[in-house]
Symmetry: C2
Subunit: 332 residues, 2 copies
């Protein structure tokens, strides 16, 4: 398989999609790029940059073919890199006619596909017959904004077939991006989902005026909770302290810019959940993920006090103050 000979498509118009496009263009001459709205691609073609995200990154539009039609771009491309909110995945692919079962899929999505509580790779496998060994997951501590600034970042590409993981990785490795490969596609995906829930918890506690001492305890307990969950759901030998797991958690939970943390902070400060959602006007993945993981965990019954506290606050109308006070008794 020569992945490099296949045409690469980026699906998404957000900051992470834009950062991935930048990395891929360091390695291939030309990419296809899907954005849902024609006005976004028109603006992009006119100005050479994304109208809303990472505007400081200039693209050579001669090296990009833009699409607004998901059937056209999937037909024209061999490797599909998805970087959209998980909630949009069924919306965008719902009416697609193209058979993508032979395509290679790389996911930069950090959420569960909600109605079915599926990981992204499970979703593509079940509904589009893509074999697991043809799919990869990009994870690791990475603010898109720092990719724009070419600040050194380390990404992990997970695929059950490690040779394919290496080929996927070669699409994004460059001067400022170091990559590691892993065969832990399940642990990597679940962990990147869970970290957003923890970021919400971190925000709630900050909003309630818990300090940095407590945050450190919360995060230490959180990585233990993540380990318990992924080790139960997919018991293989993994070091949860690696950048793909712990690093990803740290960069999100300690970030002032994480939308999940900001969402949590508003809840902690007393905003009703609905109001916080409206005010933010964008999707905090962890909001949906906390429900999905809570439901998935009904089968596994892993001890997950932080996830449960977030779920109770967001979905069961529990008082943040009381719920976090209860949580503090369960941490150590």
């Amino acid at each position: 398989m020569n992945l490099k000979s296949k045409k690469v498509a980026i699906i998404g118009s957000g900051s992470w999609a834009t950062a991935i496009a930048k990395m891929v263009l360091e390695n291939v001459k030309h990419i296809n790029w899907y954005m849902r709205k024609p006005e976004t691609t028109e603006h992009f073609e006119k100005t050479g940059h994304n109208p809303r995200y990472l505007q400081n990154v200039e693209f050579d539009t001669n090296r990009i073919t833009f699409y607004n039609d998901i059937d056209e771009i999937t037909s024209d491309s061999g490797i599909l890199i998805f970087a959209i909110p998980s909630a949009y995945l069924p919306v965008i692919l719902g009416n697609m006619k193209t058979d993508i079962s032979k395509k290679h899929i790389l996911s930069g999505i950090k959420g569960v596909v909600s109605e079915e509580n599926l990981l992204v790779v499970q979703y593509f496998n079940r509904f589009f017959n893509v074999p697991f060994e043809n799919m990869g997951v990009i994870a690791g501590p990475c603010h898109a904004e720092e990719v724009a600034l070419k600040r050194l970042s380390y990404l992990t590409v997970a695929c059950t077939d490690e040779k394919k993981a290496e080929k996927f990785a070669s699409l994004i490795t460059c001067d400022y991006i170091k990559t590691t490969v892993s065969d832990d596609i399940w642990g990597t995906e679940y962990s990147s989902v869970l970290k957003n829930i923890i970021a919400i918890a971190s925000g709630i506690c900050h909003g309630l005026r818990y300090g940095d001492n407590f945050q450190a305890v919360l995060i230490s307990n959180a990585i233990q909770e993540i380990k318990r969950f992924v080790d139960t759901v997919h018991p293989i030998n993994r070091d949860i302290k690696s950048s793909a797991y712990l690093g990803d958690l740290l960069v999100t939970a300690y970030s002032q810019f994480s939308r999940n943390r900001t969402f949590g902070m508003m809840i902690g400060k007393g905003y009703p959940v609905k109001a916080a959602k409206l005010e933010l006007n964008m999707v905090a993945e962890g909001y949906y993920s906390s429900k999905s993981i809570f439901e998935i965990n009904k089968i596994h019954k892993v001890d997950m006090p932080i996830t449960e506290a977030v779920y109770n606050i967001l979905y069961e109308n529990a008082s943040p103050k009381k719920e976090i006070a209860l949580l503090t008794e369960k941490l150590s």
Copy 2:
């Protein structure tokens, strides 16, 4: 042994000593408190607060007997809680005549006693014949400033005798301080020493304009480095992701207020080491610790790329830019 019937002495006048005094006074009626300079204790007695640190914490001076003489306070007290920079320990105790071999010692010091490269408990054992089982170590993620604000914090008290650990812990447990006990006195002490070296590394990288993505990778690699070292030096079953180890690392390395991180940042920004030491006008424990750990590790030969990079920059005149560039190749 009834530890509560013994008179408690605090040795030290810094912010951590002041925070510990506050916690202990939540549990006992009266404490002895040693500060080296008479003008400090005079000011304290006059105003009811520490002249330089945590000035917002008001003390009832009727509940405190102040000392400037180390022989007097050690003679008058059964439990000695030390919270001073490790470099001052031999200075303060050098001329002490009192036999403290029967006393109980609790250490809040986070450094190696330099000339001998000894942990604090080793130092008290070797030079003052205090048995290990009569000594405890206080660790955990804890900015003294947040204790002053009564923000919920979790501390770990380690002692080879866990029952004594519980008694030590009962001296500081209160509404806003939860405590856990541990028998891992070695791992706890080494880990609290190592985290200061990591905080310097973190500061150097920040000074060199590495971003948050890289910081998350650095810290993920750092906790693995700490685990390798403590598991080699004292191989027992411990979870390095606990608050006493990982939490303590996080609160220090992510803190804007850590003197170690600030010291590192100055180095990263180009200050010569001597100038940074002068400018800061206070001891960054990690500066001494990096040399001690580097030397101790000559025996153990643990792979410690971060500690070595810090050592090379601080003691071997290595260029921070080049040394960290080399380090980035060793991380993943």
